[in-house]
Subunit: 280 residues, 3 copies
């Protein structure tokens, strides 16, 4: 979730039918075994999901060793798991983290981007866009618990979240460093960064491919909090509790409604029947 | 007044004929008695206007006890009083403050927003939009002298001003806290906040409905200055004097002109005949 | 060069055929004498160009005593010199500075803007726009080495650069102070400033015509570094070396490509053949 309409380009303009990828299970997506009480671990090989239905919160952990490269399979499993959580009204918040020590995610999988055919490039890149769209437009509260390196696509994922907690470890560098790798960050990577740290800081960071150590990341606004490594998860949970205390649906869909009301209708919000009108 | 064209959505797109409200006197609007020399106090029951023609400055004080709720009557009287000042070339600046101790304004009047019929909602909400448009597009220099709590719609009013002075009192909380109340801030509340404190800070403040105490409000950029409570008014006046020293009309209408010139005409500004071309 | 697509208005919308000015040599433009090895000083009467082909960097110095007013001749010579450097693949970076002690540039030449005929105004103002477009959309890395006063148009030029180094001298004031002079800064001056220091700071700076001394300029983000006066040039060179270490063309044209790819084509970047697709 994010203040999406502040983006310079409409996220919705990017959304295209994605039937080839959406319809079938790529990789080895494995639905949760058992009962449907929501309390069992479900997910897939590459994305662990640890639900806490009582709190309304789930923790999703990337598990694609050694560095959580965003392979097509990981992206697919991630989007499916996220969609399940979105559809399950039990959950209002998700914490994103990593099951691989020392890294949050190394970003896009370069092996998906060269030596393949155009159809594969198209499929892969659509999956990257889909991930970003799902996260940035999510109704869930998203918090990134970052205990490892967080470059490029890993950083993008964290930027789509509502709050970022970073481990105070000099190895926990974060940034969109595509330029240094000879890769060009798409405009929506850039816009997401601009929304987070402002135009000028984003300009410099993108052009030089800067990776920020924790103190600098905090100062420039790339993350919201830096804590000792062993407190990243607990901090994320306690920040999430703060969000969960916000009443109703307002913190999720509030910003979108008034675009409609303001443009099309003179009607004010009707607090007594929020469920009907607040859907995006 | 504000750098209006930097807004993400055109304020003008919102401006609609507003004849039902504009034409008639709602509430008990009471024009200034007497002479027309501009020196007499005029205004209405709910908005006191204290003009200082020599300085070219007027002080407007909300007076709708106990908490300066923005009722339809207050909004109407406020807009009418502001229009009078706009039309009176004697005045170039207005200081907005409160006649009710402990509060600048508590914001929108919730009793106008539930238990009424759609026509009333439409009328009320148009009045809120009108207030915002009048303030944010005003040719007057506007300074908010805030000596009390300043939540929600009260905060919005202050954000439309050119400068905000806040009393250094822990009770003087300021912010768009609609989310906490189960109300959704319209997109133009959001955009006004984004323009003031930036995208990321606005995102977080809106989603959590944050109310900032003075020191934090200053740090995040929600206000421009925090001073002891008994110096709020005098500080506002001395800041206003700084603005009044700016020559001509430039500080008011300057930003708009070049939108026209740049897009439609190759002509440069003609400093020797500013009055003709600078009208918005 | 700058993150141009982040601008609120398309720079390209401003670009018009400019044949009357481009085709002929205004002023006394004097091409470099001699050999074509790129190592000789070339330029013109009003813009000195000191190339360092080995480093891929050239230094351009305004030389229009006493205050480097941006006369039509200076603008023309500057654009021509810049175009030469753009076309010469030897050069990837340019440092902008001044040959006149105590001033970077005093900005637009007021004598070009009054007492002339409309055709002259049009020609002059197009030249100003052309300069801004050339700089802000340049493929070259641009660094401003500012050892003197930098008001108005001088400030605009520095804002189009990728990095600004300012001398730590109280006389080195920098800002868009047009308002104080009774002149209105065009919207693209404003947008360039907003992109650099953010909306709220730009709003206040423009409305009051603020000129920032070095420490304040650094704090507000108007410049990136403040150094002792005798280290301005060397600092600019060492920052430039940092930029020159970025591989390939990514730091120049990277941002633009994905606008095309994302909107028109599902193809990902092809790192092994960047030259073909990365042209703007």
């Amino acid at each position: 979730m994010a203040l999406a309409s502040g983006m310079r380009l409409s996220a919705r303009a990017l959304l295209r039918p994605w039937s080839p990828l959406r319809g079938k299970a790529l990789g080895c997506t494995e639905p949760a075994a058992g009962g449907g009480n929501g309390a069992r671990l479900f997910g897939s090989q590459r994305v662990l999901v640890e639900p806490d239905p009582a709190a309304g919160v789930a923790v999703m952990k990337f598990k694609n060793p050694p560095v959580n490269s965003l392979s097509l399979e990981l992206l697919t499993e991630f989007v499916i798991s996220l969609e399940k959580l979105e559809n399950d009204k039990t959950f209002r918040g998700v914490i994103l983290s990593s099951d691989c020590p020392g890294v949050f995610s190394a970003g896009l999988d370069l092996t998906e981007m060269c030596g393949r055919n155009p159809a594969h490039y198209a499929e892969y890149w659509k999956a990257v866009q889909e991930l970003w769209l799902r996260l940035y437009l999510s109704n869930l509260v998203l918090i990134a618990a970052i205990s490892g390196a967080c470059p490029a696509g890993g950083c993008l994922i964290s930027l789509t979240c509502d709050y970022r907690v970073l481990a105070d470890n000099p190895k926990c560098l974060i940034g969109l460093n595509e330029t240094l790798l000879g890769i060009i960050a798409p405009f929506w990577f850039r816009d997401t960064l601009v929304n987070t740290i402002g135009h000028r800081a984003a300009e410099r960071a993108l052009q030089l491919g800067l990776l920020f150590p924790p103190a600098e990341a905090l100062q420039v606004g790339m993350v919201d909090q830096v804590v000792p490594e062993d407190q990243v998860q607990s901090t994320a949970l306690s920040v999430m509790a703060q969000w969960m205390a916000i009443p109703g649906e307002e913190h999720r869909e509030g910003q979108q409604l008034w675009v409609l009301v303001g443009e099309q209708s003179p009607l004010p919000p009707q607090p007594d029947a929020p469920g009907e009108t607040r859907k995006f």
